[in-house]
């Protein structure tokens, strides 16, 4: 949480960062360490769901006995997930009372499991405790006793740890694998709070003034009648005098290049909401975020022309296109937009700079209202870096109110989400 010039900006932590330990029970077998490699081959644990668990745990002492460490080291190996008792087909006869053991999980009878799993247990027990020549035959009461004695449920962490603290804490329960968390889960670059406060001030000013006064004076700004605007040369963010009136109900969004102009940040494009506009500017999909992304795309087209390439064109996969050459090839087949540039000389460095920024890579979006599901996914498609919004929308917001779209693990791009609140001015406190 950062507070700068009346704005308090809080990052919305993805749920995996803040969650505490949750466990699930898994079947395991206790065996001598020398048998563990054979047992690992039999383990039927799904790799996708449990890749954060080590398969084997070394035991200092054999559970069930409080005696001194055994002569030979013992290990515990994860085998499979238990079946939900409700799912089991045939109710099994009441199990005999299990032998008293000092275990942390209430132990159900392993032989009451489904036939597939019991077969796995038998295989494991035979591998770990091979019968002597005149010993117990297969499926004998002796084997059942071995299963009841050595196969047990153990509680293991359900989720992969994503912070070092979680890893240190949870690995006490069961040994874990710790990978550095995926992109977007942990903030890579801290949000510049001063820059954010300037951008939020600008956003409010744009939303409150219908003639877009704060931007219409900027050089190189291209205003559209529908309320969107774009800048051919990104303009620096300046401190605006605080607006005393609160922004109206209409939504507005601006795109900011946070690293432009030596890190002070620059305005790239912006738009007002059109989905509630009356008259010719109404568009059912004209939400401020979508209109803002459109304005950014129009800017790229003005500067570069549309990308169009027939598939027959040979592409050398060994040599990735350098920014300069791909910029030229993008300009080639597009006569109309080049003419529309109106004499604007496109320098090679500028073209390279735009070409290197695929879509909205590295850009931040500031928006008054929490994005809906359409806008939130549009921002993910556009590879936005961070989103800062002011007003939560409990009805339709898709970031903190519903879905929490930014932390879905299956998404191909993850952005960071911040909520900004305006601290009440001192006058209102009294």
């Amino acid at each position: 949480m950062q507070t700068v010039r009346g704005w308090t900006i809080t990052r919305v932590d993805p749920e995996p960062l803040t969650r505490s330990l949750q466990t699930i029970p898994l079947w395991s077998i206790v065996a001598e360490a020398s048998a563990s490699s054979g047992l690992l081959r039999l383990s039927a644990l799904q790799q996708q769901c449990f890749s954060h668990l080590r398969r084997v745990r070394r035991l200092d002492r054999s559970p069930g006995t409080s005696a001194a460490p055994p002569a030979r080291p013992m290990t515990q190996i994860l085998l499979c997930q238990p079946t939900d008792p409700a799912d089991r087909a045939a109710p099994s006869p009441p199990p005999p009372p299990p032998p008293p053991q000092a275990v942390d999980v209430p132990q159900p009878d392993p032989l009451a499991e489904t036939p597939d799993i019991v077969a796995l247990f038998r295989q494991c027990v035979r591998a770990a405790y091979p019968p002597a020549d005149d010993g117990h035959p297969a499926e004998s009461p002796a084997e059942d006793a071995l299963i009841r004695r050595h196969v047990r449920l153990v509680n293991v962490p359900r989720h992969a740890p994503v912070t070092l603290e979680q890893y240190r804490d949870w690995t006490q329960t069961w040994p874990l694998v710790f990978h550095s968390p995926r992109k977007g889960l942990v903030a890579r670059a801290e949000l510049d709070a001063h820059q954010a406060a300037r951008a939020l001030g600008l956003l409010e000013a744009i939303a409150t003034s219908p003639d877009r006064g704060p931007v219409s004076a900027l050089p190189d700004v291209v205003l559209s009648p529908d309320g969107s605007f774009l800048l051919e040369d990104p303009a620096g963010l300046v401190d605006l005098p605080p607006t005393n009136k609160p922004p109206g109900s209409a939504n507005a969004a601006i795109l900011v290049d946070p690293l432009a102009l030596d890190g002070t940040g620059a305005l790239v494009a912006g738009a007002l909401d059109r989905s509630r506009a009356a008259g010719p500017h109404f568009h059912p999909l004209g939400h401020a975020v979508i209109a803002c992304l459109d304005a950014k795309a129009r800017r790229d087209i003005r500067l570069l022309g549309p990308r169009r390439r027939a598939l027959g064109e040979p592409v050398s996969p060994s040599a990735p296109a350098t920014p300069a050459t791909s910029a030229t090839s993008a300009l080639d087949p597009a006569p109309a937009p080049t003419a529309a540039l109106g004499g604007l000389q496109l320098t090679k460095s500028k073209a390279a700079a735009i070409q290197s920024s695929h879509l909205c890579n590295g850009l931040d979006l500031y928006v008054l209202d929490e994005p809906c599901i359409m806008c939130a996914m549009a921002l993910a498609h556009s590879r936005i870096r961070k989103i800062v919004f002011i007003r939560r929308r409990p009805g339709a917001g898709a970031l903190v109110s519903h879905h929490r779209l930014f932390e879905l693990p299956r998404m191909n791009h993850h952005y960071e989400v911040y909520v900004a609140t305006r601290d009440p001015p001192p006058d209102d406190v009294q």
């Binding site: 989905s275 506009a277 009356a278 008259g279 010719p280 109404f282 568009h283 059912p284 999909l285 939400h287 979508i290 992304l293 459109d294 950014k296 795309a297 790229d300 087209i301 570069l304 549309p306 990308r307 169009r308 390439r309 027939a310 598939l311 027959g312 592409v315 996969p317 990735p320 296109a321 791909s326 695929h358 879509l359 909205c360 890579n361 809906c372 599901i373 359409m374 806008c375 996914m377 549009a378 498609h381 556009s382 590879r383 409990p394 009805g395 339709a396 898709a398 519903h402 879905h403 779209l405 879905l408 299956r410 998404m411 191909n412």
Partner: protein, 196 residues
Amino acid sequence: MTLSFSKPRDQDMVYCEPFMREAFRLAQESLDLGEVPVGCVLVKDAQIVARGRNRPSETHNATRHAEVEAIDQFVSEFRAAHPDASAANLTHSLSECVLYVTLEPCVMCAGALRHSGIQLCFFGASNDRFGGCGSIINAHSYPYDTGLPPLECRTGYFAEEAVSLLQKFYLRENVNAPVPKRKRTAAKAPVEGETA
């Protein structure tokens, strides 16, 4: 909520076919231009009233999916035909359309369809990466608190064709994407010559 996926029904299949054929023709057009091959049509009173195909690369805009293109075309043609129509008229007219699309609408497009009021959608293959109609999120039926009508989805129409079109695309290289971190496997290269 009575919405759910349903198996393709024979009577739907016959009725769908010309519209899905047109959607596939648009998808092929996208493929020929180096875009992810997805196409769709909006149908009203058994007439195609708008067409859309995927154009994100061409427009530098990741939101220009086929569904959004088709809705945009509908809106601009409606405005040209009825310059004095109110926003409510436009929304009402749009909500009477049925969408036929080759691939399950993504999360964004499912949201866009909800916002535009469209209530019935036929699609080919489901989309495990981005699908917003059951694959990733149930955006088509989620009870948002804003009075948006739910979207009924019927799936499985010409799914094999949709998948094979996508496979054709993904065996090629997206020249407009940033340089990938993972290397492509060389085994997939020969297909390039077949379709070029």
